[in-house]
């Protein structure tokens, strides 16, 4: 259940970036399938962690990019269904071009003070 650790790591990172007098209402993370993170579990963990931080109700948006491999022999790039898929040329070697992302993309904030009309 490393989703709890990941949620806590996200909170640590967000505390660094949250502008003063702003209220956190959402975050967007991009996590490739290689990390084995289950979005539903991360959402549960985020609900608990964000409440502790005083960010109750902040929405977690998880972007899961697809695997993308490049054949080590012919250079063909493709999006496999599973990462153990071999190239159509038969080569057993591939490089992972996408699917290993682990990034806090952005945070959504709103002013804690009403703006003058």
């Amino acid at each position: 259940m490393h989703e709890v650790s990941i949620a806590e790591s996200l909170a640590d990172l967000i505390r660094r970036h949250l502008p003063p007098h702003q209220h956190l209402i959402g975050i967007t993370v991009r996590i490739g399938p290689i990390h084995g993170v289950v979005p539903e579990s991360l959402e549960m963990a985020w609900n608990v962690v964000s409440e502790k931080e005083g960010w109750s109700g902040s929405q977690l948006h998880v972007i899961t990019p697809p695997w993308r491999l490049r054949c080590g022999a012919c250079g063909r790039c493709w999006e496999p269904v599973t990462v153990d898929e071999h190239c159509t040329c038969g080569s057993p070697h591939a490089d992972i071009m996408a699917g290993d992302e682990f990034v806090l993309e952005s945070i959504d904030v709103e002013s804690a003070v009403n703006c003058p009309q």
Partner: protein, 228 residues
């Protein structure tokens, strides 16, 4: 109220990575070669370390940080062979992180150590993402886990500098497609070296040789290979 988006684009585990970098600086200053050993529960990590301490303990000063959710059993086993053992209990945590390692280092005198092996919590997924400041990440599988475990855990295969397959002596008794296992590793990490061991039968010489040759002290300890 006005809302807006603030772009961040930073690694989720950036803070852990920063602490890992600090650990790494400490290791480098002390001249300690550090291995992060990752494998599932029961793969034979602690048995491998017992054998390592027995085989190399007279030539290298070896320290071990061993992570487990509960108990000191592994720490006690290893303490029979070395005084430089630190047991870390992670509770519900499924991995060691750089901060836990930093605190464990308070209990070790690094100036007395040439090689530090961090036995991570038994798990093939979670420990892989958390850098600890190690020089090398070693992934350990075993025959009894089945031949599909490398393919099912690509992050470990891709991240590892070295992969171990233990319990080779069980191969005659357990269905295990060794060529397929090797091919799965080659598919994702053609640079990864795979060492095949039988730790309980004391068949782990390739691992001992790897440790010696990769140690930063390999020149200082070049006599080790000759004496063994």
């Amino acid at each position: 109220m006005m809302s807006h988006k603030v772009p961040i684009v930073e690694n989720v585990l950036k803070l852990n990575d920063e602490l890992a970098l600090q650990n790494r600086e400490v290791f480098q200053r002390a001249g300690v070669f550090v291995v992060d050993l990752i494998g599932s529960p029961g793969a034979g990590k602690t048995s491998l370390l017992e054998l390592t301490l027995r085989e190399l303990g007279n030539f290298l000063n070896i320290g071990v940080i061993v992570g487990d959710p509960a108990t000191c059993r592994d720490g006690d086993r290893l303490a029979a062979h070395s005084s430089n053992i630190v047991q870390v209990n992670t509770g519900t945590g499924c991995h060691l992180d750089a901060n836990q390692v930093r605190h464990a280092l308070d209990k070790l005198n690094l100036s007395d150590i040439d090689l530090l092996i961090i036995e991570n919590v038994g798990n093939l997924i979670c420990p892989v993402s958390f850098n600890l400041g190690q020089d090398c990440k070693v992934g350990m599988f075993s025959v009894s886990e089945g031949d599909d475990k490398a393919a099912k855990h690509p992050n470990l295969v891709v991240s590892a500098d070295l992969l171990l397959l233990n319990k080779m002596d069980l191969l005659p008794y357990i269905p295990f497609d060794l060529p397929r296992f090797r091919q799965d590793i080659q598919h994702l990490n053609r640079d990864a070296q795979l060492l095949e061991l039988s730790v309980l039968s004391n068949q782990a010489k390739p691992w001992m040789d790897w440790l010696i040759s990769h140690s930063k002290h390999d020149r200082r300890y070049s006599h080790v290979s000759q004496q063994r």
